[in-house]
């Protein structure tokens, strides 16, 4: 599905990615973890083509992503911070994105799922953080693409919406889709993900299942396993 080879990226003097090699197979939920500033978002944005790597190649579904924006038809992306044009209404934004990508009717079901009907005629600038995130989720999930990338999907969600999101992710997984998630909520990651990819200082430190990580670090639970990696490398 996604193949990354020897990916390097510098922002000025700050070397964020230092040779990332990663291959993600078809189907399943993969969590990309790492401390703040480890390069998770940069890695994801490189796959999306929003950040242009200094070195290395990225293949999505066997095709090199350079100079070919059409591969993004295969990706649904949920950005980390929901920044929308504030003078647009929710309804208008959804209609515009549909117009730009393709026609779908999934949005109605998702609006119903996240109870967004009362907000459809409100301007995006007047919405609360959690409501914006729900709009963000609708925009992401309304296209039926084989690869879904979620950057901090739980931000600002209330418990009911969080449960709905988890269900939604499982439904998409059952369709055989590949889902990439970054999150700082360890319990969420442990609950939903099949495999984790741990990034540390711009390199892949660990890739495998959660039980493999527990054995490797000799820790009884996931949260402590992650903490022990961080402690070892900063001590």
């Amino acid at each position: 599905m996604v193949n990354i080879e020897n990916l390097h990226k510098k922002f000025g003097k700050n070397e964020v990615l230092k040779g990332v090699d990663l291959s993600i197979k078809d189907g399943g939920i993969f969590a990309v973890l790492g401390p703040n500033g480890s390069g998770k978002t940069t890695l994801i944005k490189s796959v999306l083509g929003m950040v242009i790597p200094d070195q290395g190649t990225i293949n999505v579904q066997g095709k090199n992503i350079k100079k070919n924006p059409n591969y993004r038809h295969q990706i649904d992306y949920l950005p980390q911070i929901a920044n929308f044009p504030s003078n647009l209404k929710v309804k208008e934004l959804i209609r515009m994105i549909k117009d730009l990508r393709k026609i779908t009717n999934e949005d109605e079901r998702l609006i119903e799922l996240f109870k967004l009907q009362p907000f459809l005629d409100k301007k995006l600038g007047n919405l609360s953080g959690g409501t914006k995130q729900k709009v963000n989720l609708v925009l992401t999930f309304m296209f039926d693409s084989p690869l879904i990338i979620l950057d901090e999907p739980t931000t600002g969600l209330d418990p009911i919406s969080l449960i709905r999101l988890k269900e939604l992710i499982q439904v998409e997984k059952a369709k055989g889709k590949t889902i990439l998630i970054t999150s700082h909520i360890m319990s969420f990651v442990e609950e939903v993900s099949d495999e984790i990819v741990f990034i540390l200082e711009g390199k892949i430190y660990f890739k495998g299942t959660i039980s493999e990580l527990k054995t490797k670090t000799n820790q009884p639970d996931f949260e402590h396993a992650i903490a022990s990696i961080l402690l070892e490398n900063h001590a």
């Binding site: 950040v51 992306y77 117009d99």
Partner: protein
């Protein structure tokens, strides 16, 4: 690209500023006609205003729109769209809506005053054409500056400096070189110097078309010889087009290499 153009255009059409800009030109046109009581004279006065104001508005609007629509741009970047079409669409959206405000704002009062029956119609159309060119040029330059500067304040600063340089400082430097080298033949130099600044180029183009070049003395005669002919007119328009194309190419080049 056309879809992005459409959304940017309508976004701007709904904003208050397009109306303010439109209303300003409407008022300017009406007042000038009322005070001058003569179409050709109004055109000359109008030229002096347009030549300075249009570049300023184009620059400020361009920079402001780019920074304000950052969120919109990031949203679009994650969609399956080409980068060049996102930025070109936004650029054309701004430039075309500004040109439209200019053309309609000035056109309406002049048409009602009886433009089509007078012989000032060509001078007036030339004024509107150069005005639109200046909008296209300075909006493109503004987008270039904004693309190269993440920092809003810096971007605004450079944009204002660019306008100040081309509208005021350039003329000063130009005049000083002419005085310094007055012992040498300067016709070619001053012709080239005029060509290299879109504001000067537009001003000269309109002045000579208005047939008041007699006021300009010997250099005026040389200018008239050049700009007055159809060859000169074509060369000037080619220069204006080059002034649009180069910054637009840089927008495409720069946007392909930028990280978001």
């Amino acid at each position: 690209m056309l879809k992005i153009l459409k959304y940017s255009f309508f976004d701007l059409m709904r904003s208050r500023w397009s109306y303010v800009y439109f209303a300003f030109y409407l008022l300017l046109g009406v007042v000038l006609l009322f005070l001058n009581n003569d179409l050709s004279k109004a055109v000359i006065t109008l030229m002096n205003v347009i030549i300075v104001l249009v570049p300023l508005i184009g620059t400020i609007f361009g920079v402001m729109y780019y920074y304000n629509s950052k969120e919109f741009t990031e949203l679009l970047l994650a969609q399956p769209l080409k980068r060049s079409s996102i930025f070109l669409g936004q650029y054309l959206g701004v430039a075309l809506s500004l040109s439209m405000s200019l053309i309609l704002g000035l056109g309406i009062p002049f048409v009602f005053y009886g433009l089509f029956k007078s012989n000032a119609i060509w001078d007036f159309s030339l004024l509107l054409i150069t005005g639109s060119f200046l909008t296209l040029i300075f909006t493109a330059l503004a987008f270039n500056i904004a693309l190269s500067n993440e920092n809003k304040i810096k971007g605004f600063g450079y944009a204002i400096l660019l306008w100040l340089f081309l509208a005021v400082i350039y003329d000063g430097l130009f005049l000083m070189t002419l005085i310094l080298f007055e012992d040498y033949p300067l016709d070619k130099l001053s012709l080239i110097g005029t060509m290299l600044n879109p504001i000067d180029l537009s001003r000269t183009l309109i002045l000579l078309k208005l047939d008041i070049s007699a006021l300009l003395g010997y250099t005026g005669a040389i200018f008239k010889q050049f700009f007055g002919t159809s060859f000169g007119l074509i060369v000037s328009f080619i220069m204006l087009i080059v002034w649009v194309v180069l910054p637009v190419l840089r927008i495409m080049f720069k946007s392909k290499r930028k990280d978001f």
